[in-house]
Amino acid sequence: MKSAVILFPGSNRDRDMIKALEQISGQPVATVWHTQTELPEADLYVLPGGFSYGDYLRSGAIAARSPIMGAIKSAAQQGRYVLGVCNGFQMLTEAGLLPGALMRNASLHFVCKEVMLQTTSNNSAFTSKMEKNGIWRCPVAHHDGNYFADEATLKTLENDGRVAFRYAQGTNPNGSINDIAGITSENGRVLGMMPHPENLIEALHGGVEGRAMFESVMAHLDAA
């Protein structure tokens, strides 16, 4: 699996993501500065976590309108795999690649802790190797992770199995509607999630539960 990580001013989880992708795919990972307008050839494009543009205006809002996002949108339309984690998820909703919005945490506090996630649906490219309804722990670190979507959008997401991950066992850290932690696009190839699976991929992290998600994409590629 060839992958590329997009860098924005204020990204800070980019290196974690690059390391995780290198380890899992066994291949070097390309990086792309946000002012570029073309993407290198890759199977998976990743928008990493952080605080692009200092979260000015709204989290992810300004990054979502940066030059590289036109290319990301085209790649998504062509059926490429796109992953947005944390700030990356905020960018994907701001860019209109995923529905809904991520608002200030209901507690108003920045949360940095481990939560339990349930893989609600394993019909997407990112979850095909994961156990349906399986519960796994994963770190979160964000201030604006409170997912919101109108009723009609929620109904579509739920009915179409597009809620990939939900906060489980009462660990919803942000007031997210329906305990939503991650959602996929209609074709299941764009995933946005607040938790950080890239921080749970080797024994030193205290667990490797985050690997399955990346391995799902690799399996999807092999099958293609």
Binding site: G100, A101, G175
Partner: protein, 79 residues
């Protein structure tokens, strides 16, 4: 030409910041508050001399960047 854009959360969208402000006002002894909703104000200075054209441009700015219309409404006032 100057314009002011006010961005507020849509009805039905929870506003935890507004709630916290409401709580703080109550703690300061202000009674009789039924609710607080917070938002953003943008003051724009435009080179345009046509009010109609400016209005159109500002609407496009709101739709494309200033407001997230999934959760927010906007109002434009020419100053």
């Amino acid at each position: 030409m100057k314009a002011r854009v006010t961005v507020t959360l849509k009805n039905g969208v929870l506003d935890p910041q507004g709630k916290a402000i409401e709580g703080s006002l109550a703690a300061l002894g202000f009674s009789g508050i039924e609710g607080v909703r917070q938002g953003k104000v943008f003051d724009l200075e435009l080179t345009s001399t046509s009010k109609e054209k400016a209005d159109e441009e500002i609407k496009a700015m709101c739709e494309k960047l200033l407001a997230n219309t999934v959760i927010e409404n906007y109002a434009v006032e020419m100053l």
